[in-house]
């Protein structure tokens, strides 16, 4: 795997490490992820989720794709079956957390100020306000943004990316880093397909496959409560795998930032 991590090059350079030249300079080989600090915090969060038996699902999308509406519909559908908790990420306002609380589910709002993404430290801070023992699934609703959140591991087990019909079917081609990170893609606001007929779900899927992504793609409308069964089935399936005693539940293999760095 040397061609993956680049260690082939640095093996050749290894003899330079710690050797000082005439000017007292030395080169130290590091070979660490640039975001190793975030990744350490993410691993800590993940261990915390594992210890509490909570499946952590990170929801990412453009602003307005329907993440909160999806959560509201999901809460209604799973009421009495699964215990949910939600961490909300937004630049400002408590609006989304209030919408979740109105459905009777505990929610903590992270307001990032100007930051365009959540990072593992922010999520860690939020965890101090959550009673994880009372939850089966923790949803983290990331800041609406198809760029930055893809680069930051939060400690989640699964990434779900929403693509709403008004955005257009070429979004996976325009934002490959985000859509490559998806373990599941939800085509939301699918009730608008007859009106916005230039959106071709087959083309959206072809754009997703062109990223070498095996992620399933489901169509749904949270508002009209259409197509929720496939999504709920997927969630139940993930939770079932996660709860198998002794199984090491693997984080999404498609997510680039989850690859191990030597």
């Amino acid at each position: 795997m040397c061609d993956t991590c680049g260690c082939n090059v640095t093996h050749g350079n290894a003899h330079l490490a710690h050797e000082k030249d005439a000017h007292g300079r030395s080169a130290v080989t590091v070979l660490k992820d640039l975001l190793s600090e975030n990744d350490r915090a993410a691993a800590h969060n993940r261990a915390h989720f594992d210890a509490h038996g909570v499946l952590a699902v990170n929801l990412m999308s453009a602003p307005g794709a329907g993440k909160t509406a999806l959560l509201e519909a999901t809460i209604e559908a799973l009421e009495g079956e699964l215990r949910l908790a939600v961490i909300e990420g937004d630049l400002e306002t408590e609006n989304d957390a209030n919408r979740i609380r109105a459905k009777g589910v505990p929610a903590y709002q992270i307001t990032t100020g100007t930051a365009c993404h959540l990072d593992a430290h922010m999520v860690h801070g939020a965890l101090h306000h959550m009673a994880l023992d009372d939850a089966d699934i923790l949803f983290v609703e990331n800041v609406g943004n198809l760029v930055c959140p893809a680069a930051f591991d939060l400690g989640q087990h699964r990434n779900v990316v929403l693509l709403s019909v008004p955005e257009g079917d070429d979004k996976p081609a325009k934002y490959p880093v985000m859509f490559r990170a998806a373990d599941l893609v939800l085509l939301t606001k699918a009730d608008l397909l007859p009106v916005l007929d230039d959106f071709d779900p087959a083309r959206a899927e072809a754009n997703l496959r062109a990223l070498a992504s095996p992620a399933p793609l489901f169509q749904l409308s949270a508002k009209k409560r259409i197509g929720l069964d496939a999504w709920l089935g997927w969630l139940r399936g993930q939770l079932q795998q996660f709860k198998v005693p002794g199984s090491k539940f693997k984080v999404g293999v498609t997510a680039p930032r989850f690859r191990s760095v030597p």
Binding site: G24, A27, T29, S36, C116, P256
Partner: protein, 124 residues
């Protein structure tokens, strides 16, 4: 947009390495970035002079090695270079490929100026 925070995180790591080697200053930082890392090299290079100010890397040079995207086909085994949004096998056209390079976000190497041996006499 997030390149400044990536840069700041990198500099905290660099500071740790420098402190661990009792270095007086950091001369060079070498990174390896792939297009699928989600970090834009040009924006990172712009953020660097702002982020390094007042740190042990104040005055350090940032070297960014840009790596190509390469995939290996699970179906036919061929390897080829690919575009960020078209990770298909160029031999058989299949999408069942694996990325073998292109998502790197690596701090490769830090060049340090030592405290003891270097001294001000050697300063250029």
């Amino acid at each position: 947009m997030h390149e400044l925070s990536v840069c700041q995180a990198m500099l905290r790591e660099v500071a740790r390495v420098a402190a661990g080697h009792d270095a007086a200053a950091v001369r060079r930082i070498v990174l390896r970035l792939g297009p699928l890392s989600g970090v834009e090299p040009d924006l990172l290079a712009e953020a660097f002079p702002l982020a390094r100010a007042g740190t042990v890397a104040d005055g350090a040079e940032l070297v960014i090695e840009r790596l190509p995207i390469r995939v290996r086909c699970d179906t036919c085994g061929a390897e080829n270079e690919a575009a960020a949004n078209r990770l298909l096998c160029s031999a058989c056209g299949d999408w069942h490929t694996r990325l073998i390079s292109g998502d790197e976000l690596l701090l490769v190497c830090v060049e340090l100026e030592s405290n003891a041996e270097c001294g001000m006499a050697n300063a250029e």
